[in-house]
């Protein structure tokens, strides 16, 4: 795998000059024709032996391409609010929009490379980390992000020579960091680690390319060729099913049909229990332990099922400083230019905070599916992507509680009519609502499927009978309070 690179091949000036000319023009052309005009972005992951000239290569790409459409995304150890979120959060946050290129230093490979370069690497950790990376990259690729991963490599001898050469002159000595000097001693281990990483994570939709880096010309030419090949790739590459997380084949249960819609609570019981539950919620949310956790509340349900009312009963008990409500509306242009889940990742709460979603990432397997806004392949893989997303949230300390507020068609009809009559509720009812109502069965089928496929132990669904608003609100509050008291 590294044999060619460790032979430290050279490209003479005479060979390089005409090649450079051609490559620069081709890169620019591809950047405009293939990337900016097409509906995709490019991520160039930069890794390899320290001191192989990764930094210099980034400058070169910025010089050869149009730098206005390139963002260099460089990461050190996670810190500050990054520690409150899943490890992938910072990469999601910085995903470049369609039409542009991101060059990623210190990427999602950093922990894997460190683990694989240990004296005694932990095989299970490596498998798990590699699998998570494969899922992430498969999702990106399927959402129109082209990925190319470059491993800069050279022989131990060449690495040493390069550092000494740079150190020799005061004009270039600062380019050599203490890490570059140390790496020579650990060369064999990093080399072995690189082998493991590349073997575990090389795939058609996100290939690794080893760049021989001892010679500047060779490094430049090979980098340009690899980037060019990635930009020229058309459409979305076939992603082998092995790399795609999947939710398995399950018998879909009619959970909506099995619900007891008669459940209700009388007004007096409601008022007193509401206050008590709000009191417990207030205490839980203000507890010291919650400062190390976060809460993600997802509200879904038919139109007029009472999501807004339930949310207000929850927020009534909270400090306004602590929560954010995100109503899911039409995506902005910045959101449309990124993978689907980006708009939700950007709303993930810090520790000690609460994010409330009034409708959510389930839109993809509900309205987008039923209204045929996307191809079936897209919503089918969504279940697994969503499970993966929520699993990451939970692993980072979030409590993910998902509520489905369910009403019967008759109850909905009554509420629609009531809304039309009320001067301060008629804004809530639109022609869309009536249209959705005509597709009750299709929505019910989609709902039963998502309730089955995404009812996972780390983020179970709470199906709530909501024909009686008071009953539904207490159910929601009780679930939240009990989950918080249980976990804190």
């Amino acid at each position: 795998m590294f044999a060619e690179a460790e032979a430290d091949p050279i490209l003479s000036k005479d060979e390089f000059k005409p090649l450079e000319e051609r490559l620069r023009a081709a890169l620019l052309n591809a950047q405009y024709e293939r990337l900016r005009k097409a509906d995709k972005s490019l991520l160039i992951v930069v890794a390899g032996i320290d001191g192989a000239g990764k930094g210099a290569t980034v400058n070169l790409l910025n010089e050869w391409m149009d730098p206005r459409h390139i963002r260099t995304l460089a990461y050190g150890p996670r810190e500050g609010e990054e520690l409150d979120r899943p490890p992938l959060w910072r990469y999601w946050r910085d995903l470049p929009p369609k039409g542009s290129t991101g060059i990623v230093f210190g990427s999602w490979y950093a922990p894997l490379i460190i683990e694989a370069s240990r004296k005694k690497p932990n095989a299970e950790k490596i498998e798990a980390q590699a699998a998570a990376i494969m899922r992430f990259e498969a999702m990106l690729a399927a959402e129109g992000v082209q990925i190319i991963k470059l491993w800069f490599h050279l022989s131990a001898k060449a690495q040493k020579t390069r550092a000494q050469h740079l150190l020799a002159s005061p004009e270039t000595a600062w380019q050599v960091s203490p890490v570059d000097l140390k790496v020579n001693k650990r060369f064999d281990r990093i080399r072995a680690g690189g082998h493991v990483v590349l073997n575990h994570t090389d795939c058609g939709h996100a290939p690794w390319v080893v760049i021989p880096s001892a010679d500047e010309n060779m490094r430049a030419a090979r980098t340009a060729e690899a980037v060019l090949a990635a930009m020229r790739q058309r459409g979305i590459p076939r992603i082998p099913p092995a790399f795609v997380a999947h939710s398995g084949s399950t018998r879909i249960v009619d959970r909506l049909g099995q619900l007891d819609y008669e459940a209700k609570v009388d007004k007096q019981d409601y008022e007193s229990e509401l206050g008590l539950l709000q009191g417990r919620l207030a205490r839980a949310a203000r507890s010291d332990k919650f400062q190390q956790r976060s809460l993600v509340l997802v509200f879904e349900g038919q139109d007029a099922a009472g999501k807004g009312g339930a949310i207000r009963r929850v927020t009534h008990a909270l400090d306004a400083r602590q929560f954010d409500i995100t109503p899911i509306a039409a995506p902005s242009s910045e959101e449309l230019a990124r993978p689907y889940l980006w708009r939700f990742w950007r709303r993930i709460p810090r520790h000690g905070r609460i994010a409330i979603f009034d409708r959510s990432w389930y839109g993809r397997v509900l309205v987008e599916r039923v209204e045929k806004l996307i191809a079936p392949a897209k919503w089918r893989r969504s279940y697994a992507e969503i499970n993966d997303f929520e699993e990451q949230l939970v692993a980072s300390g979030a409590l993910v509680l998902k509520f489905w507020l369910a009403i019967t068609p008759d109850e909905q009809l009554e509420r629609f009519r009531e809304r039309e009559k009320s001067p301060f509720k008629n804004f809530k009812i639109t022609p869309d609502d009536w249209r959705n109502r005509d597709k009750w069965r299709e929505y019910a089928a989609a709902t039963n499927e998502l309730l089955t496929r995404t009812d996972v132990p780390h983020a179970p669904w709470h199906l709530v009978s909501a024909n009686d608003k008071r009953y539904a609100r207490l159910q929601v509050l009780r679930h939240i309070v009990e989950a918080m008291e249980d976990q804190l």
Copy 2:
């Protein structure tokens, strides 16, 4: 000012019921007709005596209006990355888009209220803080943000009664915070502070309204009426010149005309000095002291003046992890929905980091002015807004260095022709560039004016003769290195 509120007026249930009905319908209607359809957003600033029911009022507004278009923005003491930026940064970051409403707790008034409520308030501090607030609000108002400020008030006796009433029942006791109980003892001082704050910051485009808060119905009705009045206000209110920062009347100097365009450096001197300067820059940017500062680099200049090349010579010496380049392109839909400077505020660096702007906020007084994209009143007030913006950056620890790379018309023509011929530079030349060239004089006049009006001691302009690229690059690097070495 507080006389009516301290009389603790009451609205009986019989008076309130029909009023409530009318206000709710009117609020919703205004939210849709006046706000969502118009090109503006609404900020409701919430302040007043603690324990007057501010939190309850926010819940009420969310219940009466369509909560999907309201964001509650609540702030505690500044923390984390907020401390690395100007105090207003977090408010800028969260500005709601056009068509929506932000309710602000712990607003930009918090420090002023604290200062004004001290035993011995510092009059100068109060004047300075109030003036900064007035400038901020005048700018927001001029950019289409409607502002209403609510001061919730009641008598000391009523405040005490309200807390005791809530404490009496376990269902409501949690609504009373320790601060609410303490405030009664400091009532007089907070009351006096409120007086000072309201007197200093009440104005037509961002008025204060005192809300009598002892009675729940009265509080609700008065709040709704105040919000309604704000939403119904048409257009941009006249902003008295006293509140608008201004850059003064100055004789415009022909700085572009006075420059020595013959300056040049030969290749050998260039290469050796470039390396030495890059070495010094590398050391300065990696120094411990820089971890408490940040660097903002602004690059402006005629088309083809060599901004990109100069930027690359700077970034070549930097750790890619440390800087971001922001090329100013067409604004996104999220940017268009906010005040002009929002798109730059969101790129302000943390301490220890470097933000490089390839073109910048000066676009408003350059291309937008010359191409007549905005009304003259808008770009005229921009000078002062920009000076204010940069002053805030500097006060928060940023080093703001602004470079104007200047070339002559002949040199530009030569470079344009060269670009057209070069296969890897022709993407850099567009019909726009030729059009801009036709307006050389207008651009020169706009440039000379901005160089005069925004050449402030805290953020001076460095006018760089750039007919010789090598000379210009060394000038830029030397300025940065010397400024950093001087300040660190």
